[in-house]
């Protein structure tokens, strides 16, 4: 503060900075003379450090604009770039500077493509400062808005090309700045990475590295390797480009002198560079990567695998470098069986694991060789230095990669270990380390831990290796020694470790191994359960409340869950016994709690996140590494199953298929399985039977389908036949009915003819009768003439008699006319009756038509029937039913037609009755004739009367004779009489015809009436 005060005191009265800056900015934007502008820019530069905000707000546009406007003037451009760079610099002590200013500047460039383009154009200028400042500006801009700047550079014409060409600049400062810029630019942008690679970046990088002196080249080499790292990371295209342009041997060359001693001051940088180079190698062989196999082979052929092993087993190498080398080796041989076998044959320098690294460097003896596997085991199991942990873990990783995807290798390794252990060999051995938990092992807890992890990788997901390990036994029974299996030895060690509270890593190591080993392996579980006290020890560990380790308790609980899940009723500790121990003595909730706590522990939960970084940070004590990644995967995969295992009924078992031991499926009781198996066999048999029957049935079905087809066709034919029959019937019926009608009509005609004949006959007879009567009248007249002649004689006497006779005659005539009237009436009736009978006949015809209609309806129904029959051809059974129905209907139709026939016969009967009535009519006519005869008799009687009259007249003649005297008078009277008689005659003539008609009609009429009545009755009967 005091200093500031002094400054304040010394400062001359100042012009206001803000207004000065504003003036300068105005001058910059408005001046037409370059010199004025340059002066203004230089003024602004001097303010830029202190008054960033004011300079930026007023002058930024003008400054950037100058880059384009005055690009020829190197000096001006240089000052502008310097000013802009000053504005970017963050100055904590200056309250006017803020991050926002730099951000704003960045946006001013990145939002306007042309501004970035101008900066890139400036790189073509050969002036040192312009190039450098332009690069520095681009770096600053890139840092503030990375992705936006990447796009702008990509868009700028020849942008990438111009940037990469900076790498050829002989001036180190520019070249190094260019490397830094390209490192930032390539970060995370695949397209830019490709473009940079195609600008020959790999070649340029290796040239620079060689120029700088290879791996010992310092920070620039490290930057170059970093750039390679950026270009190759997860970029398969660039990786294959790298491989195919022959860069792999150039990369290998970097490692060739890596094991040579360097001065201690340079060692740190060199180790870093080596690690960077190794990291580049590992980018190519990421396990499971797309081009991993091709890259592994290319790297092996370039000798990188060998070089890595040399570095890993060099006494001069520090542990971090050795660890990285081993990790690279692990990735190089992962799941590549030719390389795995090649790898096993390799030899490396023997390093005594028991002596300190510093001493090793002095005793470096490249000629003392051993096989690489031995070297790895020595490092992993016997090197107890805390600094070595990373390398030990990497060695373990190497072994894992050596086993990965290669069962013969695993079995060979395990057999070899068993043999060596049995022989009591002194060299590093996984089994020995696991079985002999001695003082050394307790002092180096990672020895047991790493041995467990190596064995875990050997037997994980490999039943054969697991069986081999399970069957391993130690101890000579003949020599009186107790025979113990490996599981028993390990469980014994585990119990000891739990009871004596050994380092948690030992316990966790054993538990990891046992969990994966016993999972889904009931024989192994049985082997473990042979020692019931082990279970007790595990349970009491889980129940411990004081000084408890969450990881150990959780793992113990998890392991107990596995034991229970894969135990069975014949286990040394049966499920029924085991369940109460877990569920009651330990407590079900306690179990769930501990297992859940384990799962939630960051060591388990976040294992993947911290996998490679966690353990490197610790400077003091043992690293915080408790779990192997394979085990964590296993735990997370099977967590929920084992968590729920305790809730499974002891009656339900989970056996597993391990060579020839009774097995069962998961969670199902054995009895049930057996019965199910029996059932399954039965079912199989049944199924086969059913399949054969099914086959025959299918055949049958096809047959029946054929049949049904045939039946269908037959049915159709039948239907057609039925139709035809119906047609025939109809036609028959039609013809019959037509014939009947014709017959009836003809009969009616005949009847009519008969009637007409009868009428004709009756008229004829009437005419005859009239003629006869006429004849008789003529006779009568003659007789009258005779009488007149006699009357001449009688004259007067007979006048009275004549009068009487006349009266009589008149009366008779009256009678006759009356009768004639009646006869006329009767004839009328007869006509009426005839008409009625004609009507009846027409009615009869109507009925006939109606019956024809009924027949038509019947045929219609038959048609309907046909339709339904067609519909019902779909299924066989329905077809059959419909067929019968159709037949029934056809029968019905036949019945109908029969009925129709009946009707016809009926009709015929009617007709016959009609005929009988006709006969009756004829009879009646005969009757009428009879009556006619009677009439004739009556006429005879009349004649007799006339004859009587004649006799009477004879008497009168006698009287006349008596009265002859009076005759003359009488003649006069007779003349009068004659006149009257003539009039009478005239009258009689008319009467005479009428009388004859009258007498004929009667009988016919009666007959016809009777006939009609009969017809009516018959029709009613119908």
């Amino acid at each position: 503060m005091s200093l500031l005060g002094i400054l304040q005191a010394q400062a001359p009265p100042k012009q206001d900075a803000t207004s000065t800056i504003q003036t300068l900015c105005l001058r910059l934007s408005t001046s037409t003379l370059l010199e004025d502008r340059r002066a203004a820019i230089m003024g602004l530069r001097s303010f830029a450090r202190e008054y960033k905000e004011t300079v930026a707000s007023g002058g930024l546009r003008g400054l950037i604009g100058t880059l384009t406007k005055d690009s020829e003037d190197v000096d001006t451009i240089k000052v502008v770039l310097e000013t802009l760079l000053l504005l970017f610099v963050k100055d904590e002590s200056n309250p006017e500077s803020s991050e926002d200013i730099a951000l704003w500047l960045t946006d001013e460039f990145t939002q306007k493509q042309e501004n970035i383009t101008v900066l890139i154009e400036l790189l073509q200028d050969s002036d040192f400062y312009i190039r450098l400042y332009a690069l520095q500006l681009l770096v600053a801009i890139l840092n503030n808005r990375p992705s936006r700047t990447q796009e702008c550079v990509l868009t700028a014409p020849l942008g990438i090309s111009r940037l990469v060409s900076v790498l050829d600049d002989k001036r180190d400062a520019i070249r190094n700045e260019g490397i830094l810029l390209i490192i930032n630019l390539s970060n995370g942008h695949t397209d830019i990475q490709k473009l940079i690679a195609f600008e020959n970046a790999f070649e340029r990088m290796f040239s620079i590295i060689e120029l700088e002196g290879g791996i010992d080249g310092g920070i620039v080499v490290q930057d170059c390797l970093q750039l390679l790292n950026n270009l190759l990371s997860f970029n398969v295209s660039n990786q294959s480009y790298f491989r195919e342009t022959g860069c792999v041997p150039r990369l290998a060359k970097l490692f060739q002198f890596a094991q040579e001693p360097v001065p201690s001051y340079a060692k740190g940088q060199r180790d870093t560079s080596i690690e960077y180079a190794m990291r580049v190698c590992r980018l190519f062989v990421v396990p499971g990567g797309l081009g991993a196999a091709a890259n592994q082979n290319a790297f092996f052929n370039a000798g990188i695998l060998h070089l890595m092993l040399v570095i890993a087993f060099s006494g001069f190498s520090d542990f971090p470098v050795r660890a990285e080398a081993l990790r690279t080796v692990a990735d190089l041989i992962h799941e590549n069986s030719p390389l795995q076998e090649n790898f096993a044959q390799m030899k490396v320098q023997y390093l005594d694991p028991t002596i300190l690294p510093e001493v090793q460097a002095q005793q470096n003896n490249p000629d003392d060789l051993c096989y690489v596997i031995e070297g790895l085991l020595d490092l992993a199991l016997l090197n107890s230095s805390t600094h070595a942990f990373d390398a030990r873990l990497a060695a373990c990783q190497c072994l894992e990669s050596y086993f990965a995807g290669n069962q013969p290798v695993r079995l060979h390794f395990l057999n070899h270990a068993i043999n060596l252990h049995a022989q009591g060999d002194e060299s590093a051995n996984v089994l020995t380390c696991l079985i002999n938990l001695d003082q050394d092992s307790r002092g180096d807890p990672y020895r047991v831990w790493l041995a467990s992890v190596i064995l875990l990788h050997l037997i994980y997901n490999d039943e054969e290796a697991k069986n081999l390990a399970t069957s391993f036994k130690e101890g000579d029974a003949d020599a009186g020694e107790e025979v113990v299996t490996m599981i028993q030895s390990i469980s014994g060690n585990l119990v000891a470790a739990l009871e004596h509270n050994y380092d948690p890593r030992i316990i966790i190591g054993y538990l990891m191994l046992l969990c994966t080993w016993l999972y889904e392996d009931s024989p192994a579980v049985d082997d473990f359960l042979n020692e019931a006290s082990s279970v007790q020890s595990l349970v009491s560990t889980v129940k411990q409340s004081s000084n408890s380790n969450v990881l150990i308790q959780g793992l113990c609980a998890f392991f107990l869950g596995i034991l229970y899940e894969f135990s069975h009723k014949d286990s040394p500790l049966p499920r029924a016994t085991l369940h109460p121990i877990l569920a009651s003595r330990m407590g079900r909730d306690h179990y769930v709690n501990k297992v859940t706590k384990l799962r939630e522990n960051p060591q388990v939960r976040d294992f993947e996140v911290f996998r490679e970084t966690n353990h490197r940070r610790r400077k003091m004590g043992l690293p915080e590494v408790y779990f192997d990644h394979t085990f964590i995967d296993f735990l997370k995969d099977n967590y929920s199953r084992i968590l729920r295992a305790i809730d499974k009924d002891p009656g339900l078992e989970t056996h597993n298929t391990i060579n020839g031991v009774p097995h069962a499926l998961n969670g199902i009781s054995v009895e049930l399985v057996d019965s199910l198996k029996a059932q399954l066999e039965d079912k199989d048999e049944e199924l086969q039977k059913l399949q054969t029957t099914c086959l025959t049935l299918e055949q049958k079905i096809t047959q029946e389908q054929h049949e049904s087809q045939r039946a269908k066709e037959a049915a159709a034919a039948e239907v057609q036949k039925a139709n035809a029959a119906i047609d025939v019937l109809r036609q028959q019926h039609d013809t019959e009915s037509r014939a009947a009608a014709q017959k009836a009509r003809s009969e009616a005609n005949a009847l009519e003819a008969q009637i007409q004949r009868a009428r004709w006959e009756s008229t004829e007879s009437a005419r005859k009768a009239k003629e006869k009567a006429d004849a008789e009248i003529a006779v009568l007249r003659r007789r009258v003439v005779e009488v007149e002649s006699t009357l001449e004689q009688e004259k007067l006497a007979r006048a009275v008699e004549v009068q009487r006779v006349r009266a009589d005659g008149e009366a008779a005539v009256k009678e006759v006319t009356a009768k004639l009237h009646a006869a006329e009436k009767e004839t009328l009736f007869a006509h009426e009756g005839l008409r009625q009978s004609e009507e009846r006949v027409s009615e009869c015809e109507h009925r006939l038509k109606a019956s024809e209609d009924a027949l038509k309806a019947a045929t219609d129904r038959a048609a309907g029937l046909e339709a339904t029959t067609r519909q019902q051809t779909t299924t066989l059974t329905s077809l059959r039913e419909s067929l019968t129905v159709a037949e029934a209907r056809a029968q019905h139709a036949e019945k109908k037609t029969q009925e129709d026939q009946l009707n016809i016969t009926h009709l015929e009967e009617n007709i016959s009755t009609l005929q009988t009535t006709l006969k009756k009519e004829e009879e009646a006519r005969t009757h009428a004739q009879g009556e006619l005869a009677a009439l004739e008799t009556r006429i005879k009687r009349l004649e007799t009367e006339v004859s009587e009259e004649q006799t009477a007249r004879k008497k009168s003649d006698e009287v006349a004779a008596q009265s002859a005297a009076e005759l003359d008078d009488l003649f006069i009277m007779l003349g009068d009489l004659e006149e009257k008689r003539r009039g009478d005659k005239k009258r009689l003539k008319g009467f005479g015809i009428e009388v004859s008609d009258d007498e004929d009609g009667e009988g016919d009429d009666d007959d016809e009436e009777e006939e009609e009545e009969e017809e009516e009755e018959e029709e009613e009967e119908k």
């Binding site: 503060m1 707000s57 002590s93 926002d100 939002q111």
Partner: protein
């Protein structure tokens, strides 16, 4: 070196495109109005020193005004300027109702990025058009501001200059009140407040002890 201000505060102008944010800034900082201003690309920057009251010895606040682009395509860029803002002018156009309805989106975006104690002022610009083209009643805007926890509302016209000064003065005073009431931890840069250590030291010994370590 003496500086003519006691505090620096960062203020952002936000709102839909074409509301007149840049015109307000230019009116305040340069006292002019340009009827044909180009659309803002990214952000613009301006500053103005404002006394917190009318007395001659009044403390002065320098407002660093970050005038952001309203266009949607610049949203990603402008958002990074919200961080560390002490005050904000949420601008809408009274003659375009849509700009008012979008205000809530701007407010949410601002509050998600900026400090919780940010002083926001709702500004209805273009009030010179109020007579014939008004679409947003002043009462409605005031009610909306209250409902959304905005303490002040003014209507302005960058064209005539009406209300512009008041808007920024309101904002400056609000910030000053907050400084005085101790809302901001002046050591924490995230509030966007900076204290002129050289000047404050003369008048405020308390503050000096806390912030004056740089010399």
């Amino acid at each position: 070196m003496p500086q003519p201000w006691d505090y620096i505060a960062k203020v952002v102008n936000i709102g839909d495109s074409g509301c007149g944010k840049s015109s307000l800034t230019i009116r305040l900082c340069e006292g002019r109005f340009n009827p044909t201003h180009d659309v803002t690309i990214g952000v613009e920057f301006g500053s103005r020193i404002i006394p917190v009251d009318t007395t001659p010895t009044a403390q002065k606040i320098k407002l660093q005004i970050w005038d952001t682009a309203g266009q949607e395509s610049f949203r990603a860029i402008t958002k990074s300027y919200f961080r560390g803002a002490t005050g904000a002018l949420l601008v809408y156009d009274i003659s375009r109702r849509a700009t008012f309805t979008h205000a809530i989106e701007w407010l949410e975006e601002l509050r998600s990025a900026a400090d919780a104690n940010i002083s926001i002022i709702l500004v209805g610009n273009k009030c010179d058009l109020a007579d014939d083209k008004r679409e947003v009643p002043a009462e409605e805007a005031r009610a909306w501001a209250e409902a959304n926890g905005i303490k002040a509302f003014v209507e302005t016209s960058a064209k005539t200059g009406e209300g512009v000064e008041e808007a920024f003065v309101d904002c400056a005073r609000e910030i000053y009140r907050n400084i005085k009431s101790g809302v901001y931890d002046l050591n924490d840069k995230s509030h966007g407040i900076k204290t002129n250590t050289a000047k404050v030291s003369l008048s405020m010994d308390e503050q000096t002890k806390v912030t004056g370590g740089c010399c």
